[in-house]
Symmetry: C2
Subunit: 366 residues, 2 copies
């Protein structure tokens, strides 16, 4: 089976084909001026989470922008997420991109455009959510753009810093490296699969499980501390956040690094709440775990010799990770369930077409 980018990514591939000429040969460009030394270390051609600037010693600057569907989140439309929640999510999603590069956030610019229908309290709640997330992740909301629009529109830009040469990329995984993830995935996807169809299932879930599912959206955690350890101690050979879901993340690291992955399915942590939703949906719990879900975990690779030291550092900081597979020379990502090898279960986030409901009808085939 030949691995092709088209197979796992429809709309991003189309986009890349259309615009690639505009973004070629950026990385490494001298963008300084007036004697100020600035190099664009990673540009759009690097296809990473953020652009990276070397701005004189001793600081590397990382910057990335993320638009947030916010008001179009189904759980927001259902009234299960508040204006505060989508503001919080806006900041967390952007800061997660900085964390995935191993950088420490130094600021967030937030674009909050709102319609006449959003009253003062609602608008204030959005900003309060952004502010709370910035506080929780140790940074400041340093500006952006606030004004009216036809509907609520949320976007952001996060800035971070890193010692030179320490940023984490998607492209450094080598065959033999161990694949790791900082925690369970799929909770946000499970919440989206559960609540809109809640009344059509055979039964509803206990209140504490429902709360856990909603809390995954209300208080997503950008893994800033984890990213910093992985970068500054040079543990990780590649890293990306799981904002498109675990399967998509694995496939993107695989593609960027030019390796394959063999996943030990038994080692992929599955949250009990995800398992419960999967049972209601009559789908495989692992498939729901690996499908589109913006959990903002970090997925990364570590050389086998470094795993113990990395574990010790994480433990010292009260952090955790799971080894879930191994990078291979052979391309493609395969799941290993005992002796049986198979295509990875789950539905990767494909922007235009993917839908968690495809889980039941469309078996994935990378």
């Amino acid at each position: 089976m030949t691995f092709s980018e088209e197979k796992y990514s429809d709309e991003p591939t189309r986009v890349q084909q259309l615009v690639k000429d505009f973004f070629s040969d950026q990385s490494g460009a001298d963008v300084g001026a007036d004697g100020l030394p600035v190099t664009l270390a990673l540009g759009a051609d690097a296809k990473d989470d953020c652009a990276v600037y070397d701005i004189g010693a001793p600081v590397t600057l990382v910057v990335g922008s993320d638009y947030i569907r916010g008001p179009k989140f189904i759980l927001y439309e259902m009234g299960l997420l508040s204006n505060f929640d989508i503001g919080y999510y806006l900041a967390a999603a952007n800061i997660s991109d900085v964390a995935a590069m191993g950088a420490t956030p130094i600021g967030l610019l937030s674009v909050i455009r709102y319609p006449h229908e959003l009253d003062d309290a609602g608008f204030q709640d959005v900003v309060a959510g952004v502010h709370q997330a910035c506080t929780d992740f140790g940074t400041l909301n340093v500006g952006g753009d606030i004004g009216n629009a036809e509907r609520l529109i949320l976007s952001g830009t996060a800035l971070g810093i890193c010692p030179p040469g320490k940023t984490l990329k998607r492209s450094g995984a080598r065959p033999g490296d161990l694949l790791c993830v900082t925690g369970t995935c799929g909770l946000l996807g499970a919440a989206v699969a559960y609540f809109p169809k809640r009344d059509s299932f055979t039964h509803t879930l206990p209140a504490d499980v429902e709360k856990e599912l909603l809390d995954s959206w209300r208080k997503p955690r950008a893994r800033v501390a984890e990213g910093r350890v992985l970068a500054q101690k040079s543990f990780a050979t590649s890293c990306q956040d799981t904002s498109d879901g675990l399967k998509a993340t694995i496939e993107q690291i695989m593609h960027a690094s030019g390796v394959g992955f063999r996943i030990d399915e038994r080692n992929v942590p599955v949250a009990p709440a995800v398992r419960m939703v999967a049972e209601l949906m009559k789908v495989e719990p692992l498939a729901l775990t690996m499908s589109a879900s913006s959990d903002f975990q970090l997925t990364f690779t570590v050389a086998p010799d470094d795993v113990s030291a990395c574990r010790a550092e994480f433990t010292d900081l009260g952090l955790d990770f799971h080894v879930i597979g191994e990078a291979t020379e052979e391309r493609g990502a395969r799941g290993l369930d005992g002796e049986r090898s198979r295509p990875l279960p789950g539905v990767a986030w494909k922007h235009q077409k993917s839908d968690i409901s495809l889980l039941a009808s469309e078996p994935s085939d990378p």
Copy 2:
């Protein structure tokens, strides 16, 4: 007459009241980490065009985000602006904010979310417009966020660099400083006033004038070279771009600096095309010149002793500016038409309520 912020700014004032507690005490904050020296020189509390970071010597970083109405521009909806044009505008508007700080752009992040209805060629045209503007203004489109949405959504973030201590702020104008503008204002506003009502006027304008009006939208120019001279030679005591229109810009510098302005109305350059549209509208040409219009000129103040040297530098670079007034101890902005003093004509951009059509019915009163 007491000057009050509320009088010239409804929605921004409301916004500031609602969120000011979230943004207090940012400027000057130490936001470094891990021994990396980073200070947030200007944060959201500074209410300037961009945030400013001091990231170790010898570079100051400037960064700002602007959402662009693009697809809601009336001239785009009328088919007079193309997808390329609104992409170009997106980049120009963001780079203009960096130019207004006196910084040299080092990159643009662009958020381009598009609907199913936008075909490949249309999407590619948006990106091509962004790319062309970046090229024209000497920088790179280093990334951002591309994906689908319910409608075309455009936003951007521009980054720039400046020697430490050289950034231009809105807040430095002193009584006696001369008020200057880099060129004519009001062309974009005149285009919006003209084309939607074109067939209801007594006559239409010559083809070359109509082209000039449309070109003001198609190829807006961020004043990067002008901003750099003003900053690096320390000529300007304050500076802002006219993205909200000349009147609004004057009022914002006035408010930030704690001064007033006396405008010599006869020295404000009025473009012939603006004059022609004003005649059709039966409004004062100067009012149309000063009203809401994103011309991206720079408005700045210079100490009287520095005007000659500033003029010489501009001339050497093939650049121009006009002295249009003087900063005063007394607050408020007044127009001086010969001996007659009056409130500044024109309608400042007020986000929610302002409309160029108010020109005819609602005399401005600062």
